[in-house]
């Protein structure tokens, strides 16, 4: 058993090591010290309670974003729309968070989270429903919906839901009420715990329920799924809605637990990192957690790395791209490490391109 787990994580682990090694070259090219830089990176992400909190806070939306991609993967679809789903989730959660007062926390906070989840679900569901009914490819549709979501949430936060208090001039909503704010337990944000619970729930649903069986069947063999009586269109649409819901929850947790409001331009790029996370986790919902923690750690430590070692924080982006590359093309790692090729499933999506 432990052997097989080892085999499963060997490639991602090696990919991380390779990525960091090439990062050393990049750091040297900037006349900086790799040791200093990486030490700063780790201290910046784990050094004290504050650092740990930051890492967990950064990992939280990454878990949700990673799940949004991984779950769609399972149904054979590529959800590039995490960004848009996250944005609408964030703005609607914030709207419920600041728009209602006088509610007890046990009602208000869940209501705000649900608002974000529903908004995300609708945003993802549009792509899924179009795919199921018209065959419009979800990659194109979700990319377009990302742009639309960006504009929509900017406008919402600059007009009807704008924070008009005091001296505010930028596009952002008022702070959410305390009763809708996700608390932090010591160095652990409750949002992170929620993300972990959701990740485990995703895994259980996918592996242990008939719905999960249907999703996986559609992902592996759409024709056989249809043959066995599964409503393929419904599964595609609902899985994309679930994926959107997960991303929307991520946005909601950002608004309610990290930023305290929605602000235009603040959550840029979060949704896209879900792709890296999901691939690093090989689309396994449980694998998403460590993958998100790793990337969250790097991002939390990046400022300190620039401060201490003078390395531009974009190094993190480059290292992430390299890791992604090595995970996607495991043959390189196998070749370097002389590992035996195993028949573990390689992630396949392209074959679904254009098929309705």
């Amino acid at each position: 058993m432990s052997r097989s787990i080892l085999r499963t994580i060997a490639i991602p682990l090696a990919a991380v090591v390779f990525g960091l090694l090439i990062g050393v070259v990049l750091i040297l090219s900037q006349n900086a010290s790799p040791a200093t830089a990486y030490t700063a990176l780790v201290v910046g992400g784990l050094g004290d309670a504050d650092a740990l909190l930051r890492t967990l806070q950064k990992a939280t939306p990454l878990i949700f974003g990673g799940l949004a991609v991984a779950v769609a993967f399972k149904a054979g679809m590529f959800n590039i729309g995490g960004q848009g789903q996250l944005l609408v989730g964030a703005v609607f959660a914030a709207a419920v968070g600041f728009g209602i007062d006088g509610l007890p926390m046990v009602i208000h906070l869940p209501a705000a989270l649900v608002a974000g989840a529903i908004a995300g679900a609708i945003w993802g569901g549009i792509a899924g429903a179009l795919k199921a009914t018209t065959g419009a490819h979800e990659v194109i549709v979700t990319i377009m919906l990302n742009f639309v979501a960006g504009n929509l949430t900017d406008w919402l936060s600059a007009n009807p839901w704008k924070d008009n208090s005091g001296n505010n001039i930028v596009a952002r909503t008022p702070l959410v009420e305390d009763s809708a704010t996700i608390p932090t337990l010591g160095a652990v944000p409750v949002g992170f715990l929620l993300a972990v619970v959701v990740a485990v729930a995703c895994w259980l649903v996918l592996e242990r329920t008939t719905y999960g069986f249907e999703v996986r069947s559609v992902g592996h063999n759409r024709n056989a799924a249809q043959y066995s009586g599964i409503k393929v269109g419904w599964i595609m649409a609902s899985t994309m809605a679930v994926a959107g819901m997960l991303a929307g929850l991520g946005g909601a947790v950002e608004s309610l637990g990290v930023d305290g409001r929605f602000e235009a331009g603040v959550n840029v790029g979060l949704g896209f990192e879900g792709i890296t996370i999901a691939l690093l986790a090989r689309a396994n919902p449980l694998g998403v957690i460590p993958a998100a923690l790793l990337v969250g750690l790097m991002e939390a430590g990046a400022s300190r790395m620039q401060f201490k070692a003078g390395v531009a924080p974009e190094l993190i982006d480059v290292i992430q791209a390299l890791i992604l590359f090595f995970v996607a093309a495991p043959i390189i790692i196998r070749w370097v490490l002389r590992m035996r090729e195993d028949n573990s499933e390689q992630l396949r999506l392209g074959a679904g391109w254009g098929q309705s």
Binding site: S217, N223, A224, Y227, S228, G229
Partner: protein, 503 residues
């Protein structure tokens, strides 16, 4: 004439887990037809793929025109005059006939395809060999017989003097097949040599000059038509004596189970594939649907099983209308379905045997309760299916992709037969599997009939239809030509109906 056109000399080819060719030698001379006979999986395809340069042998030699050659790819073989007509046509559907024929050897001017020249050459070629064809038709619009003609022209266009045909008659009516055989015979008159791969004994006896029989990757016999007969060949092929006819009792038809009335179904391209069909299937009988592939069988089966919406007409099962029922609703009525394409529809390759064994009933008790799968129950069920239906596998935990075709098919049949069946839809139930498995599945289908199930058997193998059916419906161009009682049906009559000729 001592020239050898094409030969394999002591060829051995190993695939992971299978010795596909074991020290195989065959030889083809000009003007002769060499039949390669063998069961599915006997190594025929591997051998011709080696001869055509698709695979390289692990050991042994390929000899073309008395010369040992080292083929690096099909282009090597083509340039040496080898042409091949594949079992699955290697044509590009949305391209024209002429484009398909010249592809890879295009006449060109400054890098641009000279379509005019190509068209002229195709017209000339088809005139010369009596293989008439419209060079500007899209391949996807052509019936299969015509597509096969394109394949043959493709080889002839490349000045082939050896033609390899892999199971060429499977997609033809008996009459078309006879016509093909006579065309081939004429071709040999020009000195062409032909390698003819088949598992149909009748054809071998009708056309071959030399016969080589393969079994389990080895040559187990070489003979000539004059020296043998069908049962002799069958025994050589299988390695034991074979009952060529299925033994069955007389049918005891009961009430109507499936009633199809004026059913109209479109294909993927929106064209009418099933044209106002009406028929009934009763308890305890097998209705065989004969016809050349692509005459609406697939669409008919998909409509009946709820995978495709009919455009018009009605279907009833046990008197209840199910015309627009979903696959699941129909399956709930006690309908079992053996799909025609087991890789595409029958199994999920990466799923374990256990998961595949409940592919159509995972949602029902006892396999799941309130949406939660019960793995122990599923695994027990899978073990039962594997035991009862003789699925050869090391474990029920392995992926279905590791099973052979016959074992996959037995797994599917086992899965479908594990409930009480009211109506069985069996589409090409024995395609591409070995004789042992064929016999096994035939017996099981008859067993279901005798237990009172209504069976709709769709098959492109006329022998299978004739052997199993109690009544035979013949489809041509989406229309029902006729429904015959089994005792009135013979190869000749059904064949004519399959070609749309009612007399």
């Amino acid at each position: 004439m001592s020239e050898v056109l094409l030969a394999a000399h002591n060829v051995t080819k190993q695939f992971p887990g299978v010795l596909a060719n074991d020290d195989v030698s065959v030889q083809l001379r000009p003007g002769r037809i060499l039949a390669l006979l063998g069961e599915n999986g006997a190594g025929k395809s591997t051998l011709v793929n080696i001869l055509f340069g698709m695979y390289r042998p692990d050991s042994g030699d390929v000899i073309i025109k008395n010369e040992v050659v080292d083929l690096h790819g099909p282009d090597d073989a083509i340039s040496r005059g080898i042409g091949m007509v594949h079992q699955h046509f290697q044509l590009v559907p949305p391209m024209r006939v002429v484009e398909n024929i010249v592809l890879g050897a295009e006449p060109s001017k400054r890098g641009l395809v000279d379509l005019e020249e190509a068209r002229n050459r195709v017209v000339e070629l088809s005139g010369r060999y009596g293989l008439e064809i419209d060079p500007d038709a899209l391949v996807e619009d052509l019936p299969v017989g015509m597509q096969q003609r394109v394949e043959i022209l493709k080889a002839l266009y490349r000045d082939a003097d050896v033609l390899i045909l892999d199971e060429p008659t499977g997609v033809l009516t008996p009459q078309e097949a006879d016509h093909l055989l006579s065309v081939l015979r004429e071709l040999t008159a020009t000195g062409l040599g032909i390698v003819f791969i088949t598992h149909k004994l009748r054809e071998v006896l009708a056309i071959a000059d030399d016969i080589v029989v393969l079994r389990n990757g080895r040559v187990v016999g070489e003979t000539k038509p004059a020296e043998t007969n069908e049962s002799g060949l069958a025994e050589m092929m299988v390695g034991r004596s074979v009952v060529l006819r299925v033994e069955k009792s007389v049918a005891q038809p009961g009430d109507v189970v499936l009633a199809v009335d004026e059913l109209e179904v479109n294909d993927d391209r929106g064209q009418i594939a099933v044209d106002r069909l009406s028929f009934e299937v009763r308890e305890g009988e097998i209705l065989g649907v004969a016809g050349v592939e692509g005459n609406g069988q697939r669409e008919l089966v998909e409509a009946i099983t709820g995978l495709r919406h009919p455009m018009a007409g009605t279907m009833r099962i046990d008197g209840e209308e199910v015309t627009n029922g979903s696959a699941r609703e129909i399956s709930k009525k006690g309908v079992a379905h053996i799909p025609e394409d087991r890789e595409k529809h029958g199994v999920v390759a990466v799923y374990s045997i256990a998961e595949n064994s409940v592919l159509n009933r995972y949602h029902r008790s006892p396999f799941s309760i309130r949406g939660v799968l019960r793995r122990d129950v599923i695994e027990r069920h899978a073990q039962e299916v594997v035991d009862e239906f003789d699925v050869r596998t090391p474990s029920i935990a392995v992926a279905a992709s590791s099973l052979s075709g016959g074992n996959k098919q037995k797994l599917i049949v086992g899965r479908e037969f594990s409930d009480d069946i009211k109506l069985l839809i069996a589409a090409q139930p024995t395609r591409g599997i070995d004789i042992g498995a064929i016999e096994f599945i035939h017996r099981r289908i008859l067993e279901q009939r005798d237990k009172g199930a209504a069976v709709l058997l769709v098959s492109a193998e006329l022998d299978e239809i004739l052997g199993l059916s109690d009544r035979i419906a013949v489809l041509y161009d989406g229309k029902l030509m006729d429904v015959l009682d089994a005792q009135d049906a013979d190869r000749e009559r059904v064949g004519l109906l399959m070609a749309g000729i009612t007399k």
